[in-house]
């Protein structure tokens, strides 16, 4: 009798099979969904994510000088570029660049990496960048007086030799992308707000 019952069971799934499958599936999904808190706890929390913004007074930064400030734990490179530096940045054919996108958080993602798209209109002498090499996250040299600035007069990353031009665009070396331009705006002619 037992054998007969088992064989019909195997041929025709009954109510019990349905309950077993549904119950197990429910428990498995429940257990798997418990993983999420364990993964999510490692992401930046709300206090870290709260967009802190910094205001920077640019008045003391003379032409040719640079200033580094911190924003969200990252160094921000600000440089008051000389006329020749601006010209050098403008006279580059965007198509010849390793990365031809502007990487400017104030502009749409697919804008090209012209110097105009990397700066703010009317303040072309100012370049504001996140000072983190896009290769492996080192801080490039070129902010301090007397620093090595590489072949293109911008920034030079000492870790693996990436070279950026005066617009912060990657020109040579292993870095894949241009230095990023953070979201910022001019409050007055000599004051910016980052973030």
């Amino acid at each position: 009798m037992l054998e007969a019952a088992l064989s019909t069971d195997a041929l025709e799934p009954g109510r019990r099979d349905f309950l077993v499958v549904a119950g197990n599936a429910f428990a498995a999904i429940g257990a798997a969904s418990l993983l999420w808190p364990f993964i999510q706890q490692m992401n930046p929390d709300a206090s870290t994510m709260a967009l802190s913004s910094v205001e920077v007074d640019l008045a003391p930064v003379k032409e040719g000088q640079a200033l580094t400030v911190m924003w969200r734990g990252k160094p921000i490179f600000i440089r008051n570029r000389t006329k020749s530096e601006v010209e050098a940045a403008e006279n580059v054919n965007v198509k010849t660049l390793p990365d031809d996108l502007a990487r400017n958080e104030n502009l749409p993602q697919d804008d090209l990496a012209t110097d105009a798209n990397r700066t703010i209109k009317g303040h072309e002498n100012w370049i504001v960048l996140i000072g983190i090499c896009t290769h492996l996250g080192c801080i490039p040299k070129g902010q301090a007086f007397g620093d090595e600035r590489g072949e293109f007069g911008g920034w030079f990353c000492p870790c693996h030799g990436s070279q950026y031009d005066t617009s912060g665009r990657i020109r040579k070396g292993p870095a894949p992308r241009n230095l990023e331009v953070p979201p910022y705006a001019f409050m007055t002619d000599s004051k910016i707000k980052i973030g």
Binding site: M42, P44, T48, M70, C159
Partner: protein
């Protein structure tokens, strides 16, 4: 565990009572006293024991160091100095732990090269070999996170560079890499939050490592040990009991190794480290020349060999991704050795061509290590690219092809013949105790 029939006889009432409930004494006697080991094992086979000892030592020193260490961005650097200067015997315990990491890798590299030379990865030891590669990966992760803890400049920038490797995934799917990196960091840059979680994982991983080592030893005792001839065990005279034969040989190896270890700890504890790590972490200043610990240098050289071009092939924005893939592949490919090697002969002793390629492979690894310590520019990059190619060709070309074209040397019929010469057999002259009959 496999091997042989048990001849454990409990002698006391308590022993008998226990044997019927949890036969742990029986297991220990079968697997670590009576266990038949090949009679021809050389000193390269003592590194398994050496590695086990270092693992236990690292956990012991690590647990007590954690009693004094403070895993926070403000206190970590000072607490290490306090351990070295103020804590009783802290100077010694800390150096045993930090030098221990180097010794661990030194021993594991010798252990792996031993396996490659004598073909220990071949059937029936494939799973044993893969578990070994997994152990090395876990060791690398543990050592990397441990190096973060002193929170010096090299710690900070080492973490920055290595965690940023994952951002290479941005070239596959925009934003994916950045999301992973920020998840690892718990912020937008490496910070005290990162240090804290790395401390937690650095404490956890060695216990997972211990579990995998347990599986590694289990798998070893199923297949039995390989030996310098690479021959299977065929007759009782091929083996001697593990104790006292293999254990006393292990003891000699362990003491010799401890001499070297202790010399580093007591005379040059910082020789294998970097002076930059005695400068507290500063997120605004990158040291001019970031180098990982010596044991990561060959892999670091492979990572950096992929600049905007590789041996004339332009890589463009994929340079970083290629470097990252190559570096991880360099470790993973080792696990495939059992299937890449087409030769039926295990030991390189009887493989005249493979033997030369093996030593060239050792040279390749040392050369990559040297290049990893040099700045990534000029001729160093070119040399690193050449040796990166050599590294992968050893696995992808030498292992499959040499096995097919090589004529092996004449091999002895058994381990006994290899030791005693043709017509030999029976007992070794010094073995009056007839160990295999005990």
């Amino acid at each position: 565990m496999g091997g042989h029939t048990s001849n454990y006889v409990p002698t006391s009432r308590w022993g008998k009572w226990m044997d019927e409930r949890l036969p742990i004494a029986r297991m220990m006697k079968n697997q670590f006293i009576d266990y038949p080991t090949p009679r021809n094992l050389n000193y390269l086979w003592t590194f398994g024991g050496i590695l086990t000892l270092i693992l236990v030592g690292q956990i012991a020193t690590g647990v007590v160091l954690a009693m004094h260490y403070q895993p926070s961005a403000t206190a970590a650097f000072d607490s290490i100095e306090q351990i070295r200067r103020d804590v009783n015997y802290g100077w010694m315990l800390r150096d045993f732990h930090s030098v221990g990491a180097s010794m661990f890798f030194l021993a594991v590299f010798i252990h792996i090269f031993r396996g490659m030379y004598y073909g220990s990865y071949k059937a029936p030891r494939e799973v044993l070999w893969i578990l070994g590669v997994l152990i090395m990966l876990l060791m690398m992760a543990t050592a990397f996170m441990g190096y973060t803890l002193p929170w010096g400049q090299m710690s900070f920038w080492g973490v920055t560079v290595i965690t940023n490797l994952f951002s290479a995934l941005d070239t596959i799917y925009n934003g994916l890499g950045t999301a992973i990196v920020e998840w690892l960091w718990g912020g937008y840059a490496v910070s005290g939050v990162t240090l804290n979680r790395f401390f937690s994982l650095h404490y956890l991983l060695p216990f997972i490592l211990t579990a995998v080592v347990g599986l590694h030893i289990w798998a070893l005792h199923i297949a039995g040990q390989n030996n310098p001839t690479g021959l299977d065990l065929k007759e009782p005279s091929d083996t001697v009991p593990m104790h006292p034969y293999a254990t006393s040989k292990d003891a000699v190896g362990i003491f010799a190794f401890l001499l070297i270890y202790a010399w580093f700890v007591f005379f040059v504890p910082d020789y294998l480290g970097h002076a930059d790590n005695y400068i507290e972490a500063n997120p605004l200043v990158t040291p001019p020349h970031i180098v990982p610990e010596w044991y990561f240098l060959p892999f670091y050289a492979i990572l950096r060999a992929f600049t905007s071009s590789f041996l004339g092939i332009p890589l463009g924005q994929y340079a970083k991704l290629c470097g990252v893939i190559a570096m991880f592949s360099a470790v993973i490919i080792i696990a495939f050795a059992p299937w890449l090697d087409t030769s039926r002969i295990r030991s390189a002793k009887y493989r005249p061509i493979f033997k030369w390629f093996f030593w060239f492979f050792v040279f390749t690894c040392v050369a990559l290590g040297y290049l990893g310590s040099k700045p990534a520019e000029g001729v160093y990059v070119f040399a690193a690219q050449i040796f990166t190619v050599c590294y992968f060709l050893f696995f992808l070309a030498v292992m499959p092809i040499v096995g097919l074209i090589e004529t092996p040397r004449r091999m002895p019929r058994s381990i006994t013949e290899a030791v005693l010469g043709e017509g030999g057999g029976g007992l070794p002259s010094g073995a009056a105790a007839a160990p295999e009959k005990r």
